[in-house]
Symmetry: C2
Subunit: 341 residues, 2 copies
């Protein structure tokens, strides 16, 4: 592998001139530039980005730390980020932390000297340790997490408003015994969605003690919840799952148990994953533009890289929109078999 010194030697000039010629500085004669470029080409010289970033104090790389690299959420998020990053000639350094706080801290630290900025989606675990390793070292934008203690801009989804809107939709459709399958207890999104569900049900249906089933955001979890519902003695006529994946599992299990959706019970989800449109009945859900989440975060980060000082007040909250499909078809009083259970 040839270095810039090799190029300089081959061209019979100093390394400084070689560097200037190759980087398009103006104070270089055309003849000199020509000579250097020719030498570089012949030696197949490619600058060593690592060395370059050492002096430039710029790596042209953005770190992306996520809880896991899995599924639709991940791919859409990265797509959104890359769309903007690529446009600015930035690379993406990916890291996951497998949920562990220790891994998270080391992942953040391992980024030092590799990146110019960080997009960080914290795990649901305790955030305390993060504060120490995130203290203004590198420009950072948080994804899907908000913490007043960390005065960082963040890009989030308004889970509360989304769950509220969905619950209200179900109430307005005439459903009376609406059950919520929630996500993991420590999950930020899950908690907010549960809160939205609770508030909407209290404010629009006057219910104070709705039925809540535990869930884990997996298809199996949705099936399990449906199982409990059908076997249980509590009646229900609608299920609002905290995400689409569980809703899909729930529908599958309900139908396996002989119930028809939405005829016997409505089911709705959250996220609008591609699958939502493809199952039968099509799933009513809250549409979240995950790619936009990534793009927005990246745009904020670009501003920070440009020197702007952004803080939590610049945070961006995107409100998901209600997509009504077949799975919550208007409850027809004539055909409805009444509340199950």
């Amino acid at each position: 592998m040839s270095t810039i010194r090799d190029v300089a030697r081959a061209a019979g000039v100093s390394v400084a001139s070689a560097s200037r010629a190759l980087n398009g500085h103006s104070n270089v004669t055309p003849a000199m530039r020509e000579r250097v470029q020719r030498a570089a080409q012949e030696l197949r010289y490619v600058p060593h980005s690592g060395a370059r970033s050492l002096t430039r104090r710029k790596t042209d790389t953005i770190g992306v730390i996520l809880p896991d690299l899995f599924g639709e959420f991940f791919s859409e998020l990265v797509r959104g980020i890359d769309l903007i990053a690529h446009r600015s000639g930035l690379h993406l350094l990916l890291s996951n932390m497998r949920g562990s706080a220790y891994e998270t801290a080391s992942a953040v630290q391992a980024m030092r000297g590799r990146i110019d900025g960080l997009l960080f989606m914290p795990p649901n675990a305790n955030i305390e340790e993060l504060k120490t390793c995130l203290d203004g070292v590198t420009p950072t934008v948080l994804l899907n997490y908000q913490d007043p203690a960390l005065n960082l801009p963040c890009v989030t989804i308004d889970n509360y408003a989304g769950a509220y809107a969905m619950t209200r939709h179900l109430v307005e459709q005439g459903y009376q015994k609406i059950v919520h399958i929630c996500g993991p207890a420590h999950n930020f999104d899950a908690r907010e969605r549960l809160r939205g569900f609770r508030d909407a049900l209290r404010e629009h249906a006057g219910q104070r003690n709705p039925m809540i089933l535990p869930g884990d955001f997996t298809e199996e979890g949705g099936k399990h919840a449906a199982d409990m519902l059908v076997s249980g003695k509590t009646g229900f006529d609608a299920v609002f799952a905290a995400n689409d994946v569980m809703a899909v599992g729930c529908i599958a299990e309900l139908e396996a148990r002989g119930l028809r959706v939405p005829h016997d019970a409505a089911v709705s989800g959250f996220d609008d994953i591609p699958l939502a449109r493809h199952i039968t009945p099509q799933l009513t859900t809250m549409q979240v533009h995950i790619d936009r989440l990534g793009s927005t975060a990246m745009l904020l980060l670009l501003r920070m890289l440009g020197g702007e000082e952004l803080d939590a007040s610049q945070s961006n909250v995107s409100v998901p929109s209600l997509i009504v499909r077949g799975s919550t078809g208007r409850r027809d009083a004539a055909k409805a078999p009444g509340i199950i259970g």
Copy 2:
């Protein structure tokens, strides 16, 4: 940001000793190590990976260059890669090339000095330019592409065998007018699948001029093909789409046009995306373990990083397995309405 010199000064030792103490070299007294570690902790010292990789000639980073960062294929592939990479403490530097050959070349070059090895999935465009920039500079494993001219190990899917097996399955089920919706003409996978289809049909059904419809691997493409089929005058009783996404589009369109699958016509796909199990009828398809593709490639690359000299002869071909589901349900002679068209 404190450097190792700051740490050395604080501990009252030389940088060399500080470096040795922090990197766990054996020739350091416990007292010295203690002093240095304490100083590092107090100064919140984190080594600068960029600088470190300059001397070590090792970046602990793997470059991953893909045609695009999109969809299930991408996320599964990255998951498989990360699974192995993470285990070895390697980071992932992601790059896409948007199909352009120029971008590809510059993406590969931009990796110089940033990575220890490369996982590369070439675009379908001409490979010629790549040879020059891939010439043994860095250990490389090719994904899903094989080229005798590039003597590199590659990890591929046996598209030919998969398509052959699927076609044979359809023939054995009794279907007689089997149509293939193929992928983009320049796509390597698509061409191989088409070839497998052709050969199987010739060898097992004696057909030499099967009906081939153009496609583009998108849902819309599948719908369009179904549209042509239904409107066209050529009869068909089974459709083998070159990927699941098109198969899904095809089924949707067929049903929209009043045909039932598999009653009126069978439909099968290729890839076994998660959606395949969720649509009605469930899709018969060839299961491809995309995550394993990534893991296998990463394992090969690890061996190369370990000093082994691998070449094309070490390539790994994974044969997809046939997953029979409802969409190609055995053609029941009694109920079948005969060939449509």
